[in-house]
């Protein structure tokens, strides 16, 4: 059993120099981006956390802060100091069961904080349970930080929004293409996304490293593998399950429920083999960002945006201009008619499955690169993917992309006005509002009856 209490420290700091063009190799001397906490792989209970200055975007790490843990009787049972990347780990002595249901108090040593910071509360009490990681925030009083202007903040969020949008667009495009040609509302599409993240992880964990001219490219190979193997997995999905169901004449609602079963099945298989913890690839974990004007941008974010846009442009061009693409759109429009005009509908569907799943796999690997992943990363973005597809108009190709950008940018930019914990809520509400105004979606067409 692995029980983790996560303590996240939110601090406001002044006086830290904004990172200059920090080079990847030498940039550690400047302020480092706040790293993700890596859960430990043993059976102890740990209090994990990171000390971050959240007034900065991205948050910056604060090293050298002492954190201590006391039990309910006031005995100190652990202490740690935050590392260069802001993280700290305090292992609790004894077995997991002993700690279950007990309360612990986490305290920040204020004297070790940078001088200009005054947290409103410097200690918090939490109860260990097995259900969830727990987040403990230490909000700061107004220490008079220089808040970046709304515009700068919006631009910075735009970067995150674009990264998420292109990834979401790839997943949504696959979902929409499969829906368009087969009518299947595929609840297991999220598992195609997770599959990509896992393939890249598998490559990453292979012993040794893959290099070209001394530069390590393990993760790049992993991302490519996610795309290719993802496509193969899509073919397998179709050949082993969906094609036989189609030829049996299984109804669409029944197929939708089958996809729910498949989603449950695959998700738990993934957890069986990959575990429940959240993971990162070995490369590009903590890379210092470039500063462009007031905006911070990491190289990997730029690569993801450019690569994502390139893939989207390529896919849509294929659909728009090639024979196969036209056939795909014809099948989307009216399978019966397409079949009557000599298009091999089953072949088109097969290709769409391979292409859609490859895109989903790529999306999963890129999600893993940008924000880390776990066994249900795809399931978690499934709803947003659906939202994007429905928002743009079910089954339309441009609709999926437009919808993904609307959802992706909206989730990030909405944090300007609302608490970040509500950003997904905002996006899903947007979906409902748009359906009220334009039921067929932004780019969809109304249908004929009778």
């Amino acid at each position: 059993m692995r029980l983790i209490a996560l303590a996240l420290m939110m601090l406001a700091l002044l006086g830290l120099a904004p990172p200059a063009h920090a080079d990847v190799a030498t940039g550690q001397d400047a302020a480092t981006r706040c790293a993700l906490v890596k859960p430990t792989d043993d059976d102890t209970i740990s209090i994990l956390g990171r000390i971050c200055d959240r007034r900065q975007r991205p948050p910056l790490a604060v090293p050298g802060v002492t954190v201590s843990v006391e039990d309910a009787d006031g005995n100190q049972i652990g202490e740690a100091t935050s590392a260069e990347d802001g993280t700290f780990v305090i292992d609790l002595p004894g077995t997991a069961i002993e700690h279950l249901g007990k309360s612990y108090t986490v305290t920040l040593d204020e004297s070790t904080l940078p001088e200009d910071t005054k947290p409103e509360i410097s200690s918090r009490t939490l109860t260990i349970n097995i259900d969830n990681d727990q987040t403990v925030l230490f909000p700061i009083g107004d220490a008079g930080p220089v808040k970046p202007g709304k515009f700068t903040e919006a631009m910075q969020l735009m970067v995150g929004g674009l990264v998420f949008s292109v990834v979401l667009a790839m997943a949504a495009l696959g979902l929409s293409m499969i829906f368009g040609t087969t009518g299947l509302t595929n609840f297991s599409h999220g598992e195609l996304v997770t599959f990509g993240a896992l393939v890249a992880f598998f490559i990453d964990r292979l012993p040794g490293r893959i290099e070209i001219g001394g530069a390590e490219i393990t993760v790049i190979v992993g991302v490519i593998a996610a795309f290719v193997v993802g496509g193969v997995f899509g073919w397998l999905n179709d050949a082993a399950l969906w094609r036989p169901l189609r030829s049996r004449g299984t109804g669409l609602v029944a197929m939708m429920i089958v996809s729910i079963g498949l989603s449950l099945f695959l998700r738990n298989i993934y957890q069986y083999f990959a575990g429940a913890q959240s993971r990162n690839y070995s490369q590009y974990g903590a890379v210092a960002p470039w500063q462009i004007g007031d905006i911070l941008l990491t190289p990997k974010e730029l690569v993801v945006i450019l690569l994502g846009l390139a893939v989207l442009v390529m896919t849509t061009s294929l659909l728009q201009f090639t024979r196969l693409g036209k056939a795909t759109r014809a099948v989307s429009d009216n399978p019966g008619l397409a079949s009557a005009t000599g298009i091999n509908v089953e072949r088109v569907i097969r290709i769409v499955w391979v292409g859609g799943a490859a895109l989903a796999g790529l999306a999963g690997a890129l999600l893993g690169v940008t924000q880390g992943f776990d066994f249900q990363i795809g399931f978690r973005i499934l709803l947003l993917t659906f939202a994007a597809v429905v928002l743009g108009g079910l089954g339309t190709i441009w609709g999926a992309i437009v919808g993904a950008f609307v959802i992706g940018l909206f989730t990030e930019l909405s944090t300007l006005f609302v608490d970040p914990e509500f950003k997904f809520v905002g996006a899903l509400l947007l979906l409902i509002v748009i359906l009220l105004i334009r039921p067929q979606g932004l780019l969809g067409r109304a249908q004929r009856i009778g």
Binding site: G251, A254, I257, G261, L264, N268, I269, F422
Partner: protein, 332 residues
């Protein structure tokens, strides 16, 4: 391997409070999906709103549980109206996506750290159960010696719960043999045909959504009473999917389908869980730890459930007891 343990544990779950919860949730889905053809994938949202309403009435405002039930019912109706207005005129799959999204919105908002003073955040709420347990007539464990046994609190929840199920089934039976039920079934078959005969399809779908949601609300109340707590993890998206599985096992559009489904579902799930639990337990487990450890063992029941749902839908879409000719879903 202790087979007696397997049987005892499984019977305990198959008839226990959790089976009641899923049975009531599935009765609601039966109205939505089985009879009307509405794809409500947000049943967990209805359950959550009702469960939290009941609990917060006493934890925040100091009201009675009965007041909580009343407020829960009112809020469930409002939720159904809010969901129905934008989606009931759209295609079936839109309703599916909007309801699943709405359930997630509800869950994220209720569990938000921002509202944790009042709603308990991720940890949920406790401290409301006393009035319910005070009227518990059972003080000793109840059961059949050597076969199955429940604690007095569980048995009290079961008594209340299965009574609710009995009344619910009666209501469903009365409704579905009436002309009202006939209109619902007709909408499931072809709503344009029903519209062409002068029926206000939109109003009927709304009524169906509300009534099915109310059965979901009952399930939400029982969740709270069963666990003496409510928390976001009780109302995850998968809860709705499990309830669908329960419904489909028993057979959609059959009055007693959800009852049979809930009992069978929880029996099988628990057998699997206990089996793999035992197989991986101890110093010298039957299945070596290198193949399956105890964490992995706990996943086996979900893996089998996913597989089972797929096979059921492909090979017996009418449920274990249904008649294929009167199959309610378009499984063709």
């Amino acid at each position: 391997m202790d087979f007696n343990d397997l049987l005892t544990g499984s019977l305990q779950q198959a008839l226990g409070p959790t089976a009641v919860v899923y049975c009531l949730a599935a009765i609601g889905l039966n109205i939505h999906f089985g009879y009307t053809g509405l794809l409500n994938f947000g049943q967990a949202g209805f359950m959550m709103v009702a469960g939290y309403a009941m609990v917060t009435m006493s934890t925040i405002w100091g009201g009675s549980l009965w007041l909580g039930v009343l407020v829960g019912i009112v809020l469930t109706v409002i939720l159904a109206l809010l969901l129905g207005v934008p989606t009931l005129r759209l295609r079936a799959d839109y309703l599916a996506i909007v309801t699943i999204a709405a359930a997630e919105i509800i869950r994220q908002v209720i569990s938000a750290a921002k509202f944790s003073d009042k709603l308990g955040g991720q940890d949920g709420l406790t401290g409301f159960i006393k009035p319910f347990r005070e009227v518990n007539p059972f003080s000793e464990p109840v059961g059949i010696d050597g076969l199955v046994r429940w604690g007095p609190n569980d048995f009290w929840v079961m008594t209340v719960g299965w009574s609710l199920v009995a009344v619910s089934c009666l209501v469903v039976w009365l409704l579905m043999r009436s002309p009202w039920g006939r209109v619902l079934k007709s909408i499931r078959e072809d709503e344009d045909a029903v519209r062409s005969l002068g029926k206000n399809v939109y109003a009927y779908k709304m009524q169906s959504l509300i009534i099915g949601g109310l059965f979901g609300a009952l399930a939400g109340f029982v969740v709270a009473l069963r666990s003496a707590t409510v928390g976001p993890s009780f109302f995850a998206t998968d809860v709705t999917f499990f309830a669908y599985t329960v419904l489909l096992i028993g057979g959609a559009a059959r009055v007693l389908g959800p009852v049979a489904g809930a009992v069978i579902f929880w029996f099988l799930i628990t057998v699997l869980d206990l089996f793999f639990g035992q197989a991986t337990a101890g110093a010298n487990p039957i299945i070596p730890a290198s193949i399956m450890n105890d964490t992995q063992a706990s996943l086996m029941r979900l893996i089998f459930m996913g597989l089972g749902l797929m096979l059921l839908m492909v090979f017996r879409p009418q449920g274990l007891f249904g008649d294929r000719r009167e199959l309610a879903i378009d499984a063709r």
